[in-house]
């Protein structure tokens, strides 16, 4: 009897998972056709399934819940894989100022709104993170799709994204400690431990990166996939053990890999990672009650408006510093507006810890708006004439 019961459960899980993946594939296809990121559709899919009352039994725990968690690790791993440590330290030295301006201009509005809504400081810090981080995934894809990789404003845009991603490596452990909800002294201690762990791993990654990359590199695709996935999960888990977010561990593993294995890992592991990431976005949408969205719509839209403006302002300013003309400055400004995967990752942490019931719906609405509006805005290639006053006043530097 027991065997039979377990069998039914497996069958149900297969059917559910199959339907979810097929649904997500439709969303991805539609998004691809329209030239947009599929992330908003994944979120909406989750929302819709829940609103329609189709929520599959136990879908958020067990395998699918775990798959969503792995999705977060994969997102961060892919991000770390994009960069090398020398690249990061160079960008950090060169563009520290823009990075600080970015942090202030885009973190503060979110945190302030959180406090104004009467949220706890931790929830406000989460909301600040959500509004701060642009979507390097969506933006990198847009730059490539729109043929802007060679543009002169692109290095500025990429530098800002690099600094934001680097900030995430520090921000996520801080948030993890805050969410653990320890007292002040234990909190400070565990924060120190967490940051020390990150520092040690980065130093370690620099030292053993080349060695690790050689060890991991293999002629066999199978070996590469297994070793890379194993490393990501193992380091993520171990790092989580000391209250640093597992995502940071995955990020650091990606960072440590360089050379040929970096290329192979990204072609082999990333497609698999995309599957998990899609499940993550879907599960996040699934966790949101559609009825909870309308009450937070006004703050979400207001926040979207303000932080689209602050992010665009940052891009305009940073591109101006780099001596880019007005059209290029406009492109840098509009490109950075898109928020996406990392805002959802941050919100997901808060939702999992149950810090604020309105955080999930607000973050979902916010990301939906800015992922869509941002992707539209970025296609306006030149500074629109009605905004073009700088041209008449003085030639741009």
């Amino acid at each position: 009897m027991l065997v039979a019961a377990a069998q039914t459960e497996v069958t149900t899980a297969f059917v559910q998972l199959g339907l979810i993946l097929l649904g997500l594939s439709l969303a991805a296809r539609a998004a691809d056709r329209a030239g947009f990121s599929p992330i908003p559709l994944y979120l909406l899919g989750g929302l819709a399934v829940r609103a329609a009352g189709l929520i599959p039994a136990r879908v958020t725990d067990d395998f699918i819940g775990l798959a969503a968690e792995i999705g977060v690790l994969q997102l961060l791993f892919a991000l770390g894989l994009e960069y090398t440590v020398p690249e990061l330290s160079r960008e950090l030295r060169r563009n520290l100022r823009a990075g600080v301006v970015d942090l202030v201009a885009n973190f503060v509005p979110g945190a302030l709104i959180g406090l104004l809504l009467g949220w706890s400081p931790v929830a406000a810090i989460l909301l600040g993170g959500i509004t701060y981080v642009s979507s390097s995934g969506i933006i990198a894809k847009l730059l490539s799709d729109l043929g802007r990789l060679g543009n002169r404003e692109t290095p500025t845009v990429l530098s800002i994204l690099v600094l934001e991603d680097l900030t995430m490596a520090v921000y996520l452990p801080i948030v993890a400690v805050l969410l653990a909800g320890a007292g002040f002294v234990t909190g400070v201690v565990s924060l120190a431990v967490a940051l020390a762990v990150v520092g040690v791993i980065v130093a370690f990654a620099v030292r053993i990166g080349p060695w690790l990359s050689r060890m991991v590199d293999s002629e066999s695709d199978e070996v590469t996939v297994l070793v890379v996935l194993g490393l990501v999960l193992l380091v993520g888990g171990l790092v989580q053990e000391v209250d640093v977010s597992a995502a940071v561990g995955a990020f650091l593993v990606g960072l440590a890999l360089s050379g040929p294995v970096q290329q192979r890992a990204s072609t082999l592991v990333e497609p698999l990672g995309n599957v998990f990431a899609a499940i993550f976005f879907f599960v996040f949408g699934l966790g949101i009650d559609a009825a909870a969205v309308p009450p937070v719509l006004v703050p979400a839209l207001g926040l979207a408006l303000v932080t689209a403006a602050t992010k665009a302002g940052l891009g305009w300013w940073a591109a101006g510093r780099a001596g880019i003309g007005k059209h290029g400055r406009w492109r840098a400004a509009t490109t950075l507006v898109v928020r996406g995967e990392f805002s959802i990752v941050i919100a997901g942490l808060g939702v999992a810890a149950g810090v604020e019931s309105r955080l999930g719906p607000l973050a979902a609405a916010y990301v939906l708006v800015l992922a869509v509006v941002g992707s539209l805005l970025v296609r306006v290639d030149r500074l629109p004439a009605f905004l073009d006053r700088t041209g008449r006043r003085a030639a741009p530097v």
Binding site: Y83, L149, G150, V162
Partner: protein, 160 residues
Amino acid sequence: MTEIQETELPGVGVLQAFDTAVGSRVGVLTTRSGRRELLLYDEDDPDSCRARVRLDAEDSVVLADLLGGTHVVDAAASLQRLEGLAIDWLTVSRSSTLSGVTIGDSAIRETTGASVVAIIRGAATNAAPGPADRLAVGDVLVAVGTPDAVASLTALVESG
């Protein structure tokens, strides 16, 4: 020497660009995966690209060959000119009086002063044409002589 500006694009690759003598900007983007993009910048908005061409490894070699090959020919031609000698490749046109005529009958050297040192017909090259060789429409003649001599042969071959 043309100055090449190199920019590292974190997470993407390397961008190299330069300004041509007439002021157009040309760039080559090499991504981590080894794919290359040839970029032509917009003259109105010099920060953006007017056109880009995706090149895989083999395309890049072909393009480099074409550019490099032309360079060698240019160099050879300018070297010849330095010594008071011109060298040119001339295609026999349909209206040319030379078509169907042998080199001996045409009396090219006597009338123009230039020598035909080779005839290229399709894939075949006749590197030492004699008086009996007959010219046909579409033949490419490699002519050598003083600049004036080559110019008068050009008139004869191309327009008749």
